[in-house]
């Protein structure tokens, strides 16, 4: 339904997006995942016709949207990364404003506002000025405002940044419900793996302007099908343990995080005895050794050598 074809966006010094291809079909929730500065916001600005690409094309129902994006603009709703609301207006006044710019009026607008306020759980705060809202409430209103004109595609740019877990769950559930009950198509941008894993059917992973992986959750995890992730815990590590681990060719990836070490190793290698031996040799007291199911986080680590949130 909506696709990016070979999109590149250059700023003066940086190439924010490089040769990116992507598509969204009706009724899907698609995740766009990547660390800070990956180019997610740039990509979705291009997708929603707010930014012209340096090269490449944006197609909606097989028509190019670069020169004449009107048909696309009518059916998308965007949730910007920042809180795009008037802080001195109440929740209801904000909704009235953003409804009116879509030519909604009178009873219809009123009903729609009540309906959306209900959906985002702010019905009892409708008269309050946005300035007085918590971060989570602002985020929810930021989403609500994008749904007033019943968009077919909802494009969300990190809608859960910096909020409490409760609000976050609420938002995730709302998105899932909208998708189920109204077949709303959603493009969900995030740098939280677990959100994308929970919500999305298909996932694109970006890093430094490049698309480094794409496909369904399972397809992406297949990248690591032949490997295991092992978590080691100890009270402290010493230099020689770490350097000797690094020297082992079976270990493909390794990350030290406080008293935890994460290793990605080939499945078919018998590594446990080697680890135990090494610990003894360097007098490291291992507290726990754990093999976990592959997560998207591991895939990202595998593909880039970095953790997603670094």
């Amino acid at each position: 339904m909506l696709e990016l074809i070979d999109i590149t966006k250059k700023y003066k010094q940086t190439k924010a997006v490089k040769n990116m291809n992507m598509y969204i079909e009706k009724g899907e929730i698609v995740g766009l995942l990547g660390p800070n500065g990956a180019g997610k916001s740039t990509a979705i600005s291009i997708l929603s016709s707010l930014l012209e690409p340096t090269s490449g094309d944006v197609k909606f129902r097989n028509k190019s949207m670069i020169k004449n994006p009107k048909s696309l603009r009518q059916i998308i709703g965007i949730v910007p990364q920042e809180i795009a609301l008037y802080e001195d207006l109440s929740a209801e006044e904000n909704m009235k404003f953003f409804g009116r710019i879509y030519r909604l009026k009178g009873e219809k607008l009123k009903n729609k506002i009540s309906e959306v306020l209900e959906q985002i759980g702010l019905a009892d705060r409708r008269k309050d000025v946005v300035k007085t809202f918590s971060g989570g409430m602002k985020r929810r209103l930021n989403i609500g405002v994008a749904m007033l004109h019943d968009p077919e595609i909802l494009i969300m740019d990190e809608p859960t940044v910096g909020i409490d877990p409760q609000s976050r769950n609420y938002i995730l559930q709302t998105v899932k419900r909208l998708n189920k009950e109204r077949q709303m198509t959603v493009l969900y941008t995030s740098h939280y793996m677990e959100e994308v894993e929970y919500l999305c059917d298909r996932i694109y992973i970006m890093d430094k302007g490049n698309l480094i992986a794409s496909g369904t959750k399972d397809e992406i995890k297949q990248i690591l099908a032949s490997e295991n992730t092992i978590y080691l815990k100890a009270d402290y590590w010493n230099e020689s343990f770490i350097t000797k681990l690094q020297e082992k060719p079976q270990i493909h990836q390794m990350k030290v995080e406080g008293n935890e070490i994460v290793l990605v190793v080939s499945k078919d290698v018998a590594i446990f005895s080697k680890l135990a031996h090494l610990a003894e040799e360097t007098s490291v007291q291992l507290r726990a050794v754990d093999v976990k199911q592959v997560t998207l986080e591991d895939v990202f680590l595998h593909l880039t050598g970095r953790a997603l949130r670094d």
Partner: protein
């Protein structure tokens, strides 16, 4: 577009503090600088002359002048001061007459000349009266002159001199200058901080939401401009009303003309605001740049002191591209110098032209840079 204006006005009514602050500052500074102090603010005029002139009746008359501070100098020094432009005019005083040195012909120079001429007229009248009296001794003559002066102070009938800008109204003009200067200066801030939200709305995404909606882009711009214009102009009306109705300044009956000129000035400053907003990268830069622009505009535009005291050629050249210069010029030409209509139309036209250019370039840059 109505929606945007409504949102802006609601925001303004709930949060008018910045607006009020700049309005109050504008009025406060004008009151402090324009309407207090008085004689401390005399304009200094260098004069040269022989010892007997300095101590004689002419010297006394000069000393007693309420508007100008006449400062005795050596003739060469006086000429040098005038040549450097540190004073508008200098005078060589003799018993029989005077000679004026002028760098530029300003309305002030005419007033100085008027003042000096009055002194000599009075001196001639005195000597004529003395001749009629034909006193025998110096003491007699002195007694007669004292009586004469007393009589002059209590005339049978009085002719009031209603020439504009006479000695009594000068203090008033100092006040007018301050009203004009500070109004033009502070309104730059008010308008600046009303144009700034374009930048924040673009950054936060409110602007994106509007672009994706069926709103036309020109509607978005127009609504923002109309609103900034309104707030700037409202401030001007408030300031002038306060001085007219509460302080009792009559603006020589030109209040309507002043407000018309201010329409053009407000438009130009809104455009300047757009231009600056398009050039800066973020709010911090805007906050850093705005005071630099406004203060330098006020300094080289004649808001704080008359442009006549500015000497540097570079500054004078810069003042030619400064909207504030033309705002001050139009106001002064109308109210203080009472010049004909063309002399007011000229700076106003320049203001409007500048406004159009700033606006055009500003919007173009904003669109290009995708802030």
């Amino acid at each position: 577009m109505r929606g945007i204006l409504l949102a802006k006005f609601t925001t303004f009514i709930r949060n008018p503090w910045v607006f009020l602050l700049f309005t109050v500052m504008s009025i406060g500074f004008t009151l402090i600088i324009g309407y207090t102090g008085g004689n401390g603010e005399k304009i200094t005029v260098p004069v040269a002359g022989a010892e007997e002139v300095r101590t004689g009746s002419i010297g006394k008359a000069l000393e007693g002048n309420e508007v100008y501070h006449f400062k005795w100098q050596e003739e060469a020094d006086m000429k040098e001061i005038v040549r450097l432009g540190e004073a508008e005019a200098g005078i060589i005083m003799e018993e029989a007459g005077y000679e004026m040195f002028i760098r530029v012909e300003t309305p002030n120079v005419q007033l100085i000349e008027q003042t000096i001429a009055d002194i000599y007229t009075e001196k001639i009248r005195e000597s004529q009266v003395l001749e009629l009296f034909q006193g025998e001794t110096a003491a007699e003559e002195k007694a007669f002159l004292t009586a004469y002066h007393e009589a002059m102070d209590q005339p049978l009938f009085e002719i009031t001199n209603d020439n504009f800008r006479n000695a009594d109204s000068y203090q008033f003009d100092q006040g007018l200058h301050a009203i004009f200067g500070f109004t033009l200066f502070f309104v730059i801030y008010t308008i600046g901080y009303n144009v700034l939200p374009i930048l924040t709305e673009k950054k936060e995404g409110i602007w994106d939401r509007m672009i994706l909606s069926p709103l036309k882009k020109w509607e978005i711009y127009l609504a923002n401009l109309v609103y900034s214009f309104f707030e700037g102009y409202l401030q001007i009306i408030i300031i002038f009303s306060v001085f007219h109705y509460f302080v009792g300044v009559d603006f020589y009956g030109e209040l309507a003309g002043i407000l018309l000129i201010m329409l053009a000035y407000t438009f130009t400053i809104v455009s300047l605001g757009i231009f600056v907003t398009a050039l800066v990268k973020n709010i911090q830069q805007f906050n850093a740049v705005l005071p630099i622009i406004s203060v330098s505009m006020a300094m080289i535009g004649g808001a704080f002191w008359p442009l006549e005291v500015v000497q540097s050629d570079i500054l004078l050249a810069l003042s030619k591209i400064n909207p504030l210069t033309y705002g001050m010029e139009a106001l002064n030409n109308l109210v203080l110098y009472n010049l004909p209509f063309e002399e007011i139309l000229m700076p106003v036209s320049i203001l409007i032209l500048m406004g159009v250019i700033f606006m055009g370039v500003g919007i173009h840059l904003m669109e290009k840079r995708h802030i």
